[in-house]
């Protein structure tokens, strides 16, 4: 079990992330990006068999794979209405497809983004677009290979929940959300760039290069 950070606190997680059924051995279908139709991205798309074979717990709050949701909406309709269905997507899936799959995006209490590797940066754009383009207001959760060293960026892009890997300290991860106090550029958490937040110094008032102005002789050693 991984530990959950939500809104700057370590909390009990009452959601179950539903895993896609394992692919059959010989499955070699690849996902051709819908926007980028010229290439195979090399990522495995869920097969119809996988989608059909995915086990969804009969009760409780569930975060289901986008592909499963798209194919099996009917059986989940009443649970969605009860606020007990969230969705998760892979970084290669298109956020537009998720948005199109529900009449009201904000009927989803949680959307999770799966990071297959810490360096797969598509998740940052997915969260940014959910917040700024599609007006999503509820929980955006990072799942998968989530390390504390990416948390600060995730927070800035609109994530507010992080499933920290079970072998890592959630408390230490929490501290890393404060690694930087005053970022340069605007992002989801604060759209204003630093020059719109603060009056900054112009050249006439700047001191010099280096914190302690000194004659250059002091530097040579």
């Amino acid at each position: 079990m991984s530990k959950l950070i939500r809104n700057n606190a370590v909390v009990q997680d009452d959601w179950t992330v539903v895993q896609l059924a394992a692919p059959a051995e010989e499955t070699v279908r690849k996902q051709a990006g819908k926007v980028v139709i010229f290439k195979l991205t090399g990522e495995q798309a869920a097969s119809a068999e996988q989608v059909a074979g995915t086990l969804i717990p009969a009760t409780g709050k569930v975060i289901v794979p986008l592909a499963v949701w798209q194919a099996r909406k009917k059986e989940l309709a009443s649970r969605l209405a009860a606020g007990e269905v969230g969705l998760w997507l892979e970084t290669f899936e298109l956020v537009e497809d998720l948005v199109a799959s529900v009449p009201d995006l904000n009927s989803l209490p949680v959307i999770a983004v799966h990071f297959p590797r810490p360096v797969d940066g598509r998740g940052f754009t997915i969260a940014t677009m959910l917040r700024t383009r599609f007006g999503y207001r509820n929980e955006i959760r990072a799942i998968g290979d989530v390390l504390r060293d990416q948390l600060f960026y995730m927070k800035r892009c609109g994530f507010n929940a992080y499933a920290i890997r079970a072998d890592r300290s959630a408390e230490e991860a929490l501290a890393s959300l404060r690694d930087f106090s005053e970022p340069y550029q605007g992002a989801v958490d604060n759209p204003l760039p630093v020059w719109r937040r603060h009056a900054r110094v112009a050249a006439a008032h700047a001191v010099t290069v280096g914190r302690t102005p000194a004659s250059h002789e002091d530097e040579v050693d």
Partner: protein, 557 residues
């Protein structure tokens, strides 16, 4: 140059603290090699052949004497007494200990320097013309925009983990010395018909194993939108760039695969959503940043300096140096000077700690305490009084930086190569040295004239071989080192990618091949024609014939 305020300073200080903790966790076994790799790379630290290599950013190539002294200090205390200036206006140390890198970064932070985003799949150091602000052909000083872009791209949360590295270059002069067509994004600043600053946007250029000239996706962008437009480009790239194959992950591959028109259409659609938002640059912020680049107090001087003219007439060595290493300046009575880091027999771009201190001294005495690093791996004093040139030259001769070879065959761009870099297929520095030794006759060199000879030790092209008039690329064939020769590459406004002349050569053959290429040029050139012009006029065939014809004959003997 730009000077940090408390906010800038806090950002680099917090970065040092963050990286110190990451290093501690790595050494304690809490972070695996794979987890630590992107973290150290985004602080400039590579694990290399002999030791880690630390790359330090020199934003758009601008350096204060105080910062150069700090680099000299680091070279002495943490390294082996020298540093290497790279083709991306950065500086590299080849022998730091991984455990001490946080201390090095802390030292750098005291002089407003860092290694942030000098490596890794993120927006790298932004580069520009080494003569920005002083070149007579400059229309717009692009440095304030480069600084605004630097701040915007530093720790940009959405674009810290792109499919691959991302290089932005800016240029505001008529002659493009920043090679903007060979970058992931190239921004060309100009004045539009209304006299307003605008930019043309190039995307998808680059060297590497798939060299490409960029495509212009927008002809006219008002300067206020520089950030939001870059954001739109990066968002399209971050979403759709390939991540399954590192060799096909650069934006140039995406632009090629989509087609430049379709790529431009998607960027425009994205931009329409974010245009006029808070990242729109305000006149106030532009003025604030620009103020740091305008606070020069030039003296009012005549450009006619009789004493200079006398020395020019009487001292041939000085005249040679002036011809190659001194450049025109927009202010009368001033000149820009290139200090050559390419004397025969040394690794191109290398400088010892003592030499760095000497250059810092020269910068203080002659050029407002500042200098620039060029992508040709030389150092520039940009604001020297014409009346000081003779004295400066004498001092530069004493410290070994006055080789009068700027733009000539021996002013070789060269990556560290197989002697240092674990990516390299072949050595590059010994090749550069052998060529320099072959062409050590100064009169002959000056007669050959303008010639860019660029050497890369592998297809990652750090030595810019694709845009060399003569390019040398190290390749690996069955475990031994070979060199492929291209001719006809060019940087600047009429950028082009060189053509391979034929099968590769062994290391000891390369200087001879270069000589044959030069002989062909000398035999075929018309008056005033540079090497590249001759190649473009007569094509590759005559060069090829001369090089391989004799090789074949030799084989028959």
């Amino acid at each position: 140059m730009y000077i940090y305020d408390d906010i800038d300073q806090r950002i680099v200080d917090e970065r040092v603290a963050q990286y110190r903790d990451q290093t501690r966790r790595y050494l304690a076994g809490e972070l695996s090699d794979d987890e630590f790799r992107p973290l150290r790379l985004q602080n400039g630290l590579y694990i290399q052949r002999h030791a880690p290599m630390l790359r330090i950013a020199i934003p758009y190539g601008l350096l204060a004497s105080r910062q150069l002294r700090k680099l000299a200090h680091i070279a002495r205390v943490y390294d082996r007494g020298y540093a290497h200036f790279s083709t991306r206006q950065n500086v590299q140390f080849n022998w730091p200990a991984l455990e001490r890198v946080p201390d090095i970064l802390a030292e750098l932070a005291t002089v407003q320097m860092h290694g942030i985003q000098t490596s890794g799949s993120c927006v790298r150091n932004i580069t520009t013309d080494q003569f920005a602000g002083v070149a007579p052909d400059e229309v717009v000083d692009a440095r304030p925009y480069a600084e605004i872009l630097r701040q915007w791209s530093t720790f940009h949360p959405e674009f810290a983990y792109l499919p691959r590295k991302f290089k932005i270059a800016v240029n505001g002069a008529e002659s493009d010395r920043a090679i903007i067509q060979m970058h992931d994004i190239g921004l060309g600043f100009y004045l539009d018909e209304q006299g307003e600053v605008a930019l043309e946007v190039w995307v998808g250029g680059g060297m590497g194993r798939t060299p490409a000239i960029g495509a212009m996706i927008r002809k006219h962008l008002p300067w206020q939108h520089a950030l939001s437009y870059c954001e739109a480009i990066l968002r399209v790239y971050n979403r759709h760039g390939r991540r399954d194959n590192a060799f096909k992950a650069r934006i140039k591959i995406l632009v090629k695969a989509m087609g430049a028109e379709e790529f431009a259409r998607q960027v425009e659609a994205e931009w329409a959503q974010i245009k006029d938002g808070p990242s729109t640059i305000t006149q106030e912020e532009l003025d604030r940043v620009a103020s740091f680049f305008r606070n020069r107090t030039y003296e009012t001087l005549s450009d006619d300096v009789p004493a200079f003219n006398e020395k020019l007439a009487s001292d041939k060595a000085f005249a040679n140096w002036v011809k190659r290493n001194v450049h025109r300046h927009k202010v009368p009575g001033y000149r820009a000077v290139t200090l050559s880091l390419k004397p025969t027999g040394t690794a191109p771009g290398d400088a010892t700690a003592d030499q760095m201190d000497s250059v810092a001294f020269l910068a203080d005495r002659y050029s407002f305490g500042e200098l620039r690093v060029s992508h040709e791996q030389n150092l520039i004093l940009a604001d020297v009084k014409k009346s000081d040139l003779y004295q400066l030259w004498q001092e530069a001769v004493r410290v070994g930086f006055a080789t009068p070879n700027i733009g000539l065959l021996t002013d070789i761009i060269c990556c560290p190569g197989g002697d240092f870099c674990s990516l390299a297929n072949a050595k590059s520095i010994p090749i550069a040295q052998a060529i320099q030794q072959k062409f050590d006759d100064l009169d002959y060199l000056h007669d050959i004239g303008d010639l860019d000879l660029n050497i890369s030790g592998c297809m990652n092209s750090c030595g810019h071989h694709h845009v060399g008039h003569i390019g040398v690329l190290g390749v690996d064939k069955d475990g031994s080192e070979w060199y492929q020769i291209t001719i006809g590459g060019n940087q600047g406004n009429s950028a082009s990618i060189g053509t391979v002349i034929g099968p590769s050569f062994a290391a000891d053959e390369v200087p001879g091949v270069v000589e044959k290429l030069i002989e062909t040029y000398i035999a075929q050139r018309t008056d005033e024609e540079r090497f590249i012009d001759t190649v473009r006029r007569i094509g590759v065939a005559p060069f090829k014939e001369h090089v391989y014809g004799e090789k074949k004959e030799a084989a028959h003997v």
